[in-house]
């Protein structure tokens, strides 16, 4: 008899909330010597939010994976605590420097965005009762995804913040449509590839033991490649560009099982990135920052942010300085793209590895749902969503630790900012919906004890 394991989820949620509250108290104790006054309000609000999410799952997706919500809630909560810690720096008698890019309402805003994110999470679960419903709107989502991607590049609507044109401003709010485009395009790719996978997996010539696809089937890959290059050129956003192309390639591979697609796509990406690094200064600069961060004037110039992040992580060492005791305020934009370095500095290697394992677990649960679910569209969608989350973590954490060239991209659930948070919650909702479908037992015939079992004639 399969179980929904909702009680497990609730118990894990209690743990997640406890960890977050402990971290919050810790920040106050080390920064001012007192437990922050807001702990009751923030704690109740956060506990209420995750409780609502939990109840919604009991109602809307009772068979869904029990670990995803606690893991996501823990990350979201830790993100709020770190944003509170960074916002307090240099304020209210706390030591450190005020982070000029943060306002005193950062924590409240992040809390509000968390509420919006959980509302979106519930809305997705409520609207998408069956993942296959989405397949009907494959091309609609394709158009939505492309429009969302293209909007920031339109003059007058898009605004450039910190060198990347990935924002649109509505009133005083800034939204990163790319975060949502990610989800729309994952749906589109899944629908499109499920329909075309038989054609795309036809083998053409065999070269060096690899079956190459037929030349006429290269179209979709080239279009995706072109689109990602356009993002790179017009929105100067390498991270988003790499993310989309990587997502498309992996989904194409899952759909067709042809390694040749990965090789062709990977080759195209490397060639495109290399050409772009030669042709466009800002792309070439990324490589200089990556390879020579400490050379010449770079630590005080183009690689300032990267080296400050590295210094912070080095300062934290294996065990970290403890929340509130580090100096993350030296790193520019530490509250968004570089929040991982703040965790590395204050929670140490130990804490950062734990955070990476949380992401790894979410991705693993997503892939598990993909493997378990029977319907190919849902399978592809779950695989794609899990992969996009993994890629995003890889790009930003690999970037700040100098594993790969640094590209500005948000850290799911942790970074300050609404778009990323809401989109991440929607991603979790889709994965939980698919896992609910996968784990839901087949309808059982009604039987009563003591009665003769009805044997169906079919």
């Amino acid at each position: 008899m399969p179980r929904g394991r909702r009680r497990t989820e609730l118990a894990m949620l209690v743990f997640a909330v406890a960890v977050v509250l402990f971290a919050y108290a810790n920040v106050g104790l080390s920064m001012t010597g007192r437990i922050p006054a807001g702990i009751v309000a923030y704690g109740l609000a956060f506990a209420l939010l995750v409780l609502v999410a939990h109840l919604a799952i009991r109602w809307l997706a009772p068979w869904a994976d029990p670990l995803m919500l606690p893991l996501a809630a823990l990350l979201n909560g830790l993100g709020i605590v770190m944003i509170y810690r960074l916002q307090q720096s240099g304020r209210d008698g706390n030591s450190g420097r005020v982070i000029s890019t943060m306002s005193t309402s950062s924590t409240v805003l992040q809390m509000i965005w968390s509420a919006v994110g959980i509302a979106a999470f519930i809305a997705v679960l409520a609207l998408v009762r069956e993942p296959r419903l989405l397949q009907r709107y494959t091309y609609t989502f394709g158009v939505i995804g492309l429009v969302l991607l293209a909007i920031p590049a339109v003059p007058g609507i898009g605004s450039e913040i910190n060198g990347a044109k990935v924002w649109i401003s509505i009133g005083s709010f800034s939204i990163q449509p790319g975060e949502f485009a990610k989800l729309a395009l994952a749906v589109f790719f899944a629908g499109y590839l499920v329909a075309k996978r038989d054609v795309l997996s036809l083998a053409g010539r065999r070269v060096l033991g690899i079956d190459l696809p037929r030349a006429r089937d290269l179209g979709p890959v080239l279009i995706a490649w072109g689109a990602s290059l356009l993002i790179l050129i017009f929105e100067t956003d390498i991270g988003t560009s790499a993310l989309f192309f990587g997502l498309f390639l992996v989904m194409l591979y899952i759909a067709t099982q042809r390694t040749s697609w990965l090789l062709i796509g990977g080759g195209l990406f490397v060639a495109g990135a290399f050409a772009a690094s030669r042709l466009f200064g800002h792309v070439g600069e990324r490589f200089t920052i990556w390879l020579h961060p400490f050379a010449g004037n770079n630590p005080f110039g183009i690689s300032y942010q990267l080296v400050q992040g590295l210094y912070g992580m080095g300062f934290g060492g294996v065990l970290g300085t403890g929340l509130g005791n580090g100096q993350p305020y030296w790193t520019p934009l530490v509250q968004s793209d570089f929040i991982v370095t703040a965790f590395g500095e204050e929670l140490g290697l130990t804490g950062l590895m734990a955070i990476l394992l949380i992401y790894g677990l979410i991705v693993q649960r997503g892939l598990r749902a993909a493997i378990a679910v029977r319907d190919p569209f849902s399978k592809l969608l779950a695989g794609g969503l899990a992969v996009v989350l993994a890629l995003q973590v890889f790009v930003i954490v690999g970037g700040v630790t100098r594993l790969i060239p640094l590209t500005g991209i948000t850290t799911p659930f942790l970074s300050q900012g609404g778009s990323s948070l809401v989109a991440s919650w929607m991603l979790i909702a889709l994965l939980m919906r698919i896992s609910d479908t996968a784990r839901r037992p087949a309808p059982q015939p009604i039987q009563e004890e003591g009665m003769t079992q009805v044997v169906r004639g079919r």
Binding site: Q308, Y311, Y359
Partner: protein, 497 residues
């Protein structure tokens, strides 16, 4: 599709393993190298969370200390007499340090392994971590007099005073100089502005002219040439030497002349082509005599003698790095260039410290002591960690030769003919000295550098001084009065004790 999904899962597992390796590399293996990278504000700001050790003079005047302040940082560096001691203390800023602040940083910051035991005890007993106190050999009276006298010239200048019997540096002044208090700011924008200002200021205030800049020694180098001559055993101060008015330089059409083209005549050389005693030639500083003497002695012998006085040593540290004073080999032992080298011209280059070392070696019976500036390092619990042990750097000359050179240097001041008679004769103190006026610039069109080396009292030497004033003119006029003021201030402070 499950097959592909499983393979992708493995790839993602690999990616996460890479991330784990990467964070392990940065946080477990790299921290020590990251901590010393340029621009690491965390490392520097860390040291302002506790009290850095003080720097004090030999007579216990505090010249650098950390005082408690409110704000991000708990302690800020203060230099009570900034300009006077700037070349000694250097500065300690958010991003970098110089001078003693840099050279003794391990003790001042408390990171030296010798101090970790004391810190551990403090940790257990709940006392805050503190740095060790560094006591210098600098005498505040001599240092104050040196800076005031250099400043009065208004010209770029450096002066150093040494205790000849130990090598302890009593004063080290440089002008123009900088204000290290301005480097103690916590405002990084302001700090950058200050640093750029000092760095690009044409008068080079950050340059420590006492040890970091070299000048031609001019006639003060005749101390070395005389030492070479006496050491050869062929000369005494009374040896009569060839003293032409114009010395023809072999292989050239040039002639070496004396200052103002004067003859070298003590009354016994009316033709300007005869001989005078070496003592007289030294007293009035005849270039022709010493140029000719240099050619007789040869380039190699003079160079070896110069090296026994500490020249051509690129590794001297006091503990601040000292620029190399050099007497490079004369190409092909060319006699004409040897003649110039023997009177401190051509490629000869010395620091004011080297000038003091010339006199210190002669004053200490020919034994040159290694110059040093740190007398004692004391842990916060008053345990002495380091105590300076005077050490011999080299035996420059024999005591007999030292006595002969001393006799000549006394005469430079005592004899009415002496070049320093007018400016270095003071009641009660007998000074032994040599003046130098080094020609400068292309075809010697630049202003002459005024050079002076001396020690006092001549019978019982307690202080040796080297002074160079760039563009100061005559060594006797510009530099001798500075040395005299340093000597008077130092001897007066010693008499009071």
């Amino acid at each position: 599709m499950n097959h592909a999904l499983r393979r992708i899962s493995l790839v993602i597992l690999g990616m996460f393993l890479l991330l784990l390796l990467s964070v392990n590399y940065v946080q477990a293996f790299e921290p020590s190298s990251l901590a010393v990278q340029r621009g690491n504000a965390r490392t520097f700001s860390q040291q302002y969370q506790f009290q850095r050790g003080s720097i004090v003079t030999a007579d216990n005047k505090t010249i650098a200390e950390s005082v408690h302040v409110k704000g991000i940082y708990s302690y800020q560096r203060v230099y009570p007499v900034p300009l006077v001691y700037a070349p000694v203390t250097g500065y300690d800023s958010l991003y970098s340090a110089t001078g003693i602040e840099q050279a003794e940083d391990k003790f001042l910051s408390g990171s030296d392994p010798q101090l970790t035991v004391h810190n551990l005890i403090d940790l257990v007993t709940g006392k805050p971590k503190r740095g060790a106190t560094v006591q210098l050999t600098i005498n505040s009276a001599a240092q104050t007099a040196a800076y005031a006298a250099l400043k009065a010239t208004g010209l770029p200048a450096g002066a150093v005073a040494i205790d000849p019997s130990t090598g302890a540096i009593l004063a080290m002044a440089s002008y123009p100089t900088f204000n290290p208090n301005k480097y103690a700011t916590f405002n990084s924008a302001q700090l950058r502005q200050i640093d750029n200002h000092y760095r690009f200021e044409p008068s080079q205030p950050l340059l420590n002219r006492a040890i970091e800049q070299t000048f031609p020694p001019g006639s003060t180098f005749k101390v070395v040439t005389s030492s070479t001559a006496f050491s050869s055993g062929k000369y005494t101060p009374d040896t009569r030497v060839y003293a032409p008015t114009n010395l023809k330089l072999p292989g050239t059409n040039k002639e070496l002349i004396n200052f103002d083209n004067l003859p070298c005549d003590d009354g016994s050389n009316p033709t300007g082509n005869g001989k005078v005693p070496l003592l007289f030639a030294f007293t009035v500083s005849c270039n022709t005599v010493f140029g000719n003497l240099g050619m007789q002695l040869g380039d190699t012998a003079i160079r070896q003698q110069a090296e026994r006085f500490g020249m051509n040593d690129p590794n001297l540290r006091i503990p601040l790095q000292v620029a190399q004073s050099s007497y490079p080999p004369v190409p092909g032992h060319d006699p004409a260039l040897t003649a110039y080298s023997a009177i401190g011209q051509y490629n000869d280059q010395v620091t004011p410290l080297q000038e003091a070392m010339f006199s210190a070696a002669i004053a200490n019976h020919g034994t040159l002591m290694t110059p040093y500036m740190v007398q004692k390092v004391t842990a916060p619990d008053l345990t002495p960690l380091v105590t300076a042990q005077p050490a011999v750097l080299s035996q420059a000359v024999t005591p007999q030769v030292a006595a002969q050179v001393t006799q000549m240097m006394i005469n430079v001041v005592k004899s009415p003919d002496g070049t320093a008679h007018a400016t270095a004769s003071i009641p009660g103190i007998s000074i032994a000295a040599k003046t130098g006026t080094a020609q400068n610039g292309a075809n010697n069109t630049g202003l002459d550098d005024a050079v002076f080396t001396c020690f006092a009292p001549s019978s019982n030497p307690q202080i040796a001084v080297g002074v160079i004033v760039k563009g100061g003119g005559l060594g006797a006029d510009a530099s001798a009065p500075i040395a005299v003021k340093i000597i008077q201030a130092y001897l007066a402070s010693q008499a009071k004790r």
